[in-house]
Structures are given as C-alpha cells and as structure tokens.
Symmetry: C2
C-alpha cells in the first residue's frame, strides 16, 4: 500500500484538551466541575449531530450554526441541567458561562503535539487540522498553543455547513489538500470521529486517551494508540 | 388554527420506560445499574445519529442497521465501558447482555398511556407511534403493553433507513396517515425528538418526565408537560 502523504488531526479532544476547562468549572460549580465538563462536551457533540441530521434534505442547512454558538448553547444547557436555579434566573449565571467560554477559547494542548508535528514536517508530510470548529475559533486555539508554523492547513467543516460524521465534512480534507482519501491519515481521540473517518475511507488512528472501548459498529480504526506518537508508524 | 387530526407518539422513553431495565441492570452489575442503563440509552441514541449522519450523500444508507441491532451494540459498548474485563473476555458477559436485551423487548409502559389513548380514540382522533424502533420490536412492545387496539398506526423509520431527526424519518408520519404535518401532533419525552419534530413542522408536546431543561437551540416545542395527559389540551 502506498505510504500516506498527509496527516489531518481532529482538534477538540485530539490536539486540545476539552476537559482542561474542568478546573475552572470546579471553582465555579464546586463539587460539580467534572459533571459540568462532561455534560457540556456531550451536549456540544450532540448538537452538531442534531443540526446536521435535521438539515438533510432541507436546502441550505437551515439549522446549522457555527461550532462556537453550539458550544455556547451546550454550556447553557449543562449549567441549567446541574443548577436548576439557572433555568429561571439565567442572569445570575451568565458571568460564569462567559468565564468558561473564554477558557474554552484557550484550551490546553496535549504535550506531545509539537514533537509529533515536527517529526511529520521533518519527513515532508503535509499536516493539518480537520475540525468541527469554525475558522476563527481554530485560529485562536492554534496560535494559543503555538502550533501555527507546524500546520499546513487548518480545515473547518464550516465551509460545507455540515458536521462530522457527514461525508461532506470529511471530504473537505481531500478538497483542501488536493490528495485522495487513501493518501491521508486522519487522527482523532474521539472514537465516533475515528469511525466516521474510517467509513469515509481515510486511514485512521484512534488516540484512546481515556482507555475506553471503541464503538461497537463493526468497523475498527486502522490503528489505535494512547497518544499521538503512534501516527509516525504509518510512515515507517 | 385548525384542530389537529392525529397524534403520533414516540415509543422509547415516551410510551415505554427505557430505564425500567435499571433494576435488572443493578442485579447483574451491582452498584452500577443506573450508570449502565444511562450509558446504554445514550449510546443507543448516539448510534442512530452516527449511522444516519454518515449515510448522507452515500447511496442506499450503507451504515444503517435496525434499531434492535444498534440497541444490542450499545449494550455491548456500555458493558465494556463499565466492566473493562469484558473487553478481553466478552463470553463471560454474554449471558448478562442477553438477559438485558430480553428485558428491553418488554419494557414497562407508563401508567397514563392507556387512559390518554382511550380519550383520544373516543374523540375520533387518529393515533399512532412514530419510532426509531423497527416493526417487529415495536409490535412486541405494543402487544406486551396491551396497547394494540388503541393505536391506528405503528410507524417505523425502518422503511426509509434513516433515524430521527432526519426529516425523511418524520415524513413517514405524513405518508402513513395521509395527513399533513400541520394536522399532526407529535409527542415525545426526548427533548431532541420534540425539537426535531418541531423543526419538521409538527405541532409538538414535550413530555418532560425528568425535569430537564429543553434543548438550547432556539426553537421551543408547542407545549411542555410532565406526562402524556397534556396532549388532550390540543383538542380543547
């Protein structure tokens, strides 16, 4: 099999630690920080799927909203779920929500990111992000993590207004790099994302950071690892 | 506004209590029954969305699998998540999974179901189910709950191989009843389902059985209640 020529990384959960908001969440909602971070993240993903599933067949994706807005909506939901008082008095919680959203703009990057991206660049491999995030949000996250010089492409699904795992979202990777899906390795820490990308036809690495089972839908990722370094094995 | 002529109910969570498996789950997985039931249910819904989102643009819905199979896959995932030993020795857990799946076939019905369906029938309203479940699974659940005589239609998304909230799934309700979406009330305990149906154009009742916030995506259901009886208010 031909060696791949590019590696595209999912951003949220893969390069950036979406649970790094947990500490602030715990300060703002004592005893409930971990739950808030989990509900927030789950709802954020759920909203991407809800709008994309509901948009199908309808012209112009009427329910699509950029990832930043869905992230905000998901946070509002999460706060209202764990703090019922927020349902009738949202004003009292707005400042906390704003603090958490600001933190989300500058998520921690995982420690091995730079080293892996540098190793790929030194071998002449094309690198990029392929994310549900919209361009502005991704730009801030990439600069904030000091990764600008190491990424050839920062690709957002916003151009097609359809979230992963819609095939049109994954197809943005082919379109922007000018490569075929067989020439691209897609890396994600999200099992559902690794699955969707595998279905699409990318070679995939699932970075199982939290020792979870893979999705039980019959299609394994090409490779599985516990951190990003394993992506280099595609080029040995 | 014209009075509606039909009421279509979601099945799982709305007429049938998906958490009624919790007691058996607690016996089989002591101390973890509630968590297992929650992960199982969340994953089941997640899988419906994953396959439908990934199928879009691809001919013939290649990733679609009937709801019973997705329910089984979700249970396998849930057991492997909470019992890591099951990942390497699934055989030791297979009998427990089978017991839980058998229980799922005969979920408890909510107590007000019969009374509300009878009241609708006595007013000449068309009644039905519009569910992600496939026909066989729905047939068993309906008979098991003694609701056969009270439902004019048992409609499954299986005919279009697309899960809610895909508009084609909701459109099955119009197609089978021969009514327009404006003439139909759709009832669901699942906030996402009430939202999808509202976007589609049904009049909707969200039965908020668990005192949760509604989805924060800008579109409220037509009505909200804590049990099914409120559906009669559409006909007052």
């Amino acid at each position: 099999m031909e060696k791949p020529r590019a590696v595209l990384f999912d951003a949220y959960g893969t390069l950036f630690d979406v649970y790094s908001v947990g500490l602030l969440a715990q300060q703002l909602f004592p005893g409930q920080g971990a739950r808030l971070a989990t509900v927030w993240r789950d709802k954020q993903i759920e909203y991407t799927r809800l709008v994309t599933t509901s948009d199908q067949g309808a012209p112009h994706q009427p329910h699509y909203r950029p990832f930043w807005e869905l992230t905000q909506a998901a946070l509002t939901y999460a706060i209202k779920l764990i703090e019922p008082a927020a349902r009738s008095d949202w004003a009292a919680y707005e400042a906390k929500a704003t603090q958490l959203m600001n933190q989300y703009r500058h998520l921690s990057a995982f420690p091995e990111n730079r080293e892996v991206l540098q190793a790929l660049k030194s071998r002449g491999i094309v690198t990029g992000i392929l994310s549900n995030g919209e361009p502005q949000m991704l730009g801030i996250a990439v600069r904030s993590a000091g990764l600008e010089g190491l990424l050839d492409h920062v690709i957002s699904v916003d151009g097609v207004r359809k979230y992963k795992t819609h095939p049109d979202a994954y197809a943005q990777g082919e379109k922007v790099t000018g490569l075929t899906r067989q020439q691209i390795v897609f890396v994600s820490s999200n099992a559902w994302d690794a699955l969707g990308a595998t279905w699409f036809g990318y070679r995939t690495l699932w970075v199982n950071r939290q020792n979870q089972p893979f999705e039980e839908l019959g299609t394994p990722p090409t490779r599985t690892a516990t951190n990003l370094r394993e992506v280099l094995a595609f080029f040995d």
